[in-house]
Subunit: 451 residues, 2 copies
């Protein structure tokens, strides 16, 4: 200690310490992240930092400080006018994963508030904003005031993240994408959780997908990410419940923006059963039992009733209308949603049991049709995509329809059909599909660290 | 393989491969390094690359490709008009290390050609260019044509590196300095050897310093760098002989630019004995025996005779004069070289044997007096510095002079004297000093790799 005013940590020394597997202090992490978010630290130094973090890892204490610094890089949303218990929900991204579209109005119809900031699709995974925007007129670029007012009034809202919320995340994500440092569990967890912590809520639900169609390819790596996220929630004094769920195959039957909305409407109308409905009910049950009391089984029964009785559908229609969209989508999705000019039923060429479906291949095929984007900022085609109704364990007959390709041209359809056929394995014996949920992680189970 | 024209490797994929401890191909390394040198690859991606190299290492094959790509980023110097056998020499940098000043004219006086590109001092280590420029009028900013012509005519030249020689090195070094990725043996070896390979020579002599006053702090790490350098020479089909030498204490007695020149002149005049003379003779002996034949002992005798008989001094005077300097420095250094306004003799406060001298502390004290620079591009003061005549193993008497501080102000001198006193350990028993040379490494001992 000398008598001079306390100096900020030298950012190069912060990088060198991480390079040497040292433990960064709270102040070192904060000054580096906030300095980068302010533009005081150049990209090359942040790239060296991220590469060192990627290769040497971050302790949970460092990840906690990183996450909090990211939150503090921008504004937060307090939701002070919301009276109901508040639940937030996030999925790490999958194929035919429209749980958010179902969960948000479902949970709101059960008495919870859901203020949800969503992202766009990238690569083979879809994005909730892209899906919702296939509904004519619907806006997702709400101001923070609009966002807060809507959830206070009707109990739910889904909008895009504003630039002043966790600005460090946008800058760091772009640099990670450019430098091959995306696939780091602490960096992913900090990115996910900083955005959840920046919005006030009583419960954070995370759905960490595991399998070929997800970013985390194995249940083990997904579990590590899940554990890190609950530790970050606990460190911030917030409640989180995190599921690791199966993404070895598409969750629902639709892969494409308007197709996903149409499927979500079918579920909200009580017309479609299957894993997409089951997982939505599971999350709604966890939210209701955690925040309103009662058992998980009772809460799931309430959720089933809200789907079958129309309450969730009414809330969905109200949310769509409040955000400027055509609420008739809830009654007549086919009449409201955009429709691709070519629709070709497809069949498999072998009779037997579906043993495996390469979810990533299907996601990429839909993206190639125009439903997804290769680069951030690319436009998406709302109408195109793939419906594939068979799933693992089903018996299929050669030549019998198992889905429909929705495309701009016949050539696009033929190409997609070939990919889908190649992505589906049919065998002679029925295989047991993996469970829908591999495991749950709860921030309440985290022991208090420190004194 | 598809039919499209061969695409260059994606630089982000190159970084990802190194991140994942993969082995880079020749083409991947070349396209990345040459792309960076051209400005096509942004600093942040190169920073991620260098951090991954720092943490995951580079194989000798990768280091060889890196080095060759660095050479190929700029022009090379062929020295086609030089008839004599050509020797190049480089030191990794030490304190009171003026071997180059002695070696260059000494080897030239023995019938060899020495075309030497040198650098400037940084931190606690001195630089040959700074030292030579303390001679009034002497130019080191020679054009390549001047450089080649001088060595063809008089057998020796020492000049600064031009920007078009190994431009990748300058760009990469600045980024390494900014991102904490300097201390990587493959990156250091590639930087050193690329500059040696870019100038044609029949023998490359390297002096890898080991100890407190050097960049490599231990003989083991210095040996690793030495081994890497001989492998790089062998891979390029060039001959290199590399010594790991002691830098646990200053090599000579002078630390400061004009002071270093004055000491070199004393050695070239046969007036000063000690390790600086011995090491210069050793290197000259290796060069002569390797390139002109005969034993090491005979070659060293020839070198001793050239120092004691005046031949080396004459060559030095001719080189100084050819580069525009005042050749009288060879006869009367005190009359020609700049002189600091304050000169204070210093003593130690204890009688006994010198056990240890912290060479880095002495180097830093001289730099603080103005002899060195903290940042590239800072000016240096040619006149100031430290003369310290005692060395490890010597017996010293309290209060008896052991050196002189040359400074701008009395305050500077007092500060430096305190540092020097603190940097010298005096004990009751004489300690054995480390050997002058820890070991030699020869590219001729490298087994042929591959077929």
């Amino acid at each position: 200690m000398n008598g001079s005013p306390e100096a900020l940590p030298d950012p190069r020394e912060v990088v060198e310490r991480k390079r040497d597997r040292g433990q960064l202090t709270r102040e070192e992490m904060r000054s580096f992240i906030l300095g980068y978010a302010r533009g005081d630290i150049p990209d090359y130094l942040a790239a060296a930092f991220l590469t060192a973090c990627y290769l040497n890892g971050l302790s949970i204490e460092e990840t906690t400080e990183l996450t909090q610094a990211m939150v503090d890089s921008g504004r937060t949303i307090a939701l002070l006018d919301v009276d109901r218990p508040k639940v937030d929900k996030h999925s790490t991204g999958g194929v035919s994963d429209s749980v958010t579209l179902v969960f948000v109005p479902l949970a709101a119809s059960l008495g919870l508030a859901v203020a949800k900031l969503s992202g766009r699709g990238l690569g083979h995974t879809g994005g909730t904003l892209d899906k919702l925007e296939s509904i004519p007129g619907l806006r997702t670029d709400l101001s923070v005031d609009e966002f807060e007012a809507q959830v206070a009034r009707i109990g739910c809202v889904v909008a895009g993240q504003t630039e002043d919320l966790v600005p460090a995340d946008g800058a760091m994500y772009a640099l990670r994408d450019a430098t091959g440092t995306v696939a780091s569990i602490p960096l992913i967890a900090a990115s996910v959780m900083s955005k959840k912590l920046a919005v006030n809520s009583d419960l954070i639900l995370l759905d960490v997908k595991a399998g070929s169609g997800a970013f985390m390819k194995t249940p083990e790596s997904a579990a590590e990410l899940a554990r890190t996220c609950v530790l970050l929630a606990a460190g911030a004094g917030r409640r989180a419940r995190v599921a690791v769920t199966d993404m070895t195959r598409p969750l629902g039957t639709a892969i494409g923006n308007a197709l996903d909305v149409a499927e979500a409407v079918r579920i909200l109308r009580g017309e479609e059963r299957g894993r997409l409905r089951d997982l939505s009910v599971r999350f709604a049950g966890v939210a209701v039992s955690s925040l309103l009391g009662g058992s998980q089984a009772e809460a799931e029964q309430r959720a089933e009733a809200a789907l079958d009785g129309g309450a969730a559908l009414d809330t969905f229609a109200l949310m769509v209308e409040t955000q400027g969209g055509d609420h008739r989508v809830a009654e007549d999705p086919a009449g409201v949603l955009p429709r691709a000019p070519h629709r070709v039923d497809m069949a498999l060429d072998r009779t037997g049991f579906v043993v495996e479906i390469d979810a990533e291949a299907l996601g990429r095929a839909a993206a190639q049709l125009g439903a997804g984007r290769v680069r951030k900022g690319d436009p998406v085609d709302p109408a195109v995509g793939i419906e594939f109704t068979a799933t693992v364990g089903d018996h299929v007959e050669a030549g019998q329809p198992v889905g429909t390709i929705h495309s701009r041209t016949p050539e696009d359809a033929a190409r997609a059909e070939a990919v889908v056929r190649g992505a589906v394995t049919v065998g002679d014996e029925a295989a047991d599909p993996p469970p829908m949920v591999f495991g749950w992680y709860d921030s309440d189970d985290v022991e208090e660290a420190g004194g």
